[in-house]
C-alpha cells in the first residue's frame, strides 16, 4: 500500500493506493498516531484503494474517534467493493463517505 499525504494548514489529505489489510494496516496506523496533531479537517481519498478488511476498518475507526474530538473526517471515492464492506459492518453510519 502507498500512502500519499498532503497538508495545507490544518487540513490533511491522505490518499491510499493498493490494499488496506492485516499486513498494511500498521502503516496507516502510524500516520493516524503521528500526523493528526493540529489537524481539524481530515480527508481520505480512496480512489486507488482496492481492498479493505477488518484490520483496515480498525484503523479507520481509530482515526474517526480522534477526529470526532478535534474536527471532521471525510472519505472520498470509495469503490462499490469498499462500500459493500462499509455497509455490512455498519461503518457507513459512523464514517462520513461522500
Amino acid at each position: 500500500m502507498t500512502i500519499n499525504q498532503a497538508k495545507n494548514g490544518s487540513k490533511l489529505t491522505v490518499a491510499l493506493e493498493g490494499r488496506l489489510d492485516t499486513t498494511t494496516a500498521p502503516q496507516l496506523e502510524e500516520v493516524v498516531h503521528t500526523a493528526l496533531d493540529g489537524v481539524t479537517d481530515l480527508e481520505f481519498n480512496f480512489a486507488q484503494l482496492e481492498y479493505v478488511s477488518s484490520a483496515g476498518l480498525r484503523v479507520l475507526l481509530a482515526a474517526q474517534k480522534i477526529m470526532n474530538k478535534q474536527g471532521s473526517m471525510i472519505i472520498h471515492n470509495a469503490s462499490s467493493n469498499l462500500m459493500d464492506i462499509f455497509e455490512v459492518t455498519g461503518f457507513s453510519d459512523i464514517l462520513t463517505i461522500e
Binding site: 489489510d21 481492498y51 474517534k65 470526532n68 455498519g90 459512523i94
Partner: protein, 134 residues
C-alpha cells in the same frame, strides 16, 4: 479440491489469497464475489495465525474447489479448539465511541458468505465457507 499447507503466519496471507484467487479465476468468478471471498479468507486465515497457536509455530491447510457453481473453501488448523461462530455478533449499530472491533471480521464472513460451518474433528479446527459464484 486443491490444497495448500502453509505456516499459520500473517506473512503468508498473499500466498494463500493468490492460491484461492487462481481457482476462482479459473472458474470465471465475478470480480465482486471474488473480492468478498478474498476478504473472508483474510479474516479466517488471520484469525488462525493470531489465535490458534498461542505457543507459535502452527500450520494452516487451505482446501478450495468449485462444483456446480458453488465455491467451497475449508481452513484446517491443529491449534487450540476455537469455534468462531460461538461468539455473539458485534453490535454494528453503535456510535464510533462505543464500537468494539473484535468479532467484526467473522461477522462480515457470516453476512457475505452463503454458508459457514465449524467442526472440531480429530484434534483439528475445520472451518468451511461456501459461496455461489454467480
Amino acid at each position: 479440491m486443491k490444497v495448500l499447507k502453509v505456516p499459520a503466519s500473517d506473512d503468508r496471507l498473499y500466498e494463500v489469497q493468490d492460491f484461492v484467487n487462481a481457482e476462482l479465476e479459473e472458474n470465471d468468478c465475478p470480480m465482486a464475489t471474488q473480492f468478498l471471498i478474498e476478504v473472508s479468507l483474510e479474516e479466517l486465515f488471520v484469525n488462525i495465525s493470531h489465535y490458534a497457536y498461542p505457543e507459535g509455530n502452527g500450520w494452516t491447510e487451505i482446501h478450495v474447489g468449485v462444483e456446480g457453481g458453488v465455491m467451497e473453501l475449508t481452513l484446517i488448523d491443529g491449534g487450540i479448539p476455537f469455534d468462531p461462530l460461538a461468539k455473539p455478533d458485534p453490535d454494528v449499530t453503535l456510535l464510533a465511541e462505543d464500537r468494539q472491533i473484535g468479532g467484526l471480521g467473522i461477522y462480515m464472513v457470516k453476512q457475505k458468505m452463503d454458508d459457514i460451518e465449524y467442526e472440531r474433528k480429530d484434534g483439528k479446527n475445520v472451518l468451511t465457507i461456501r459461496k455461489k459464484l454467480a
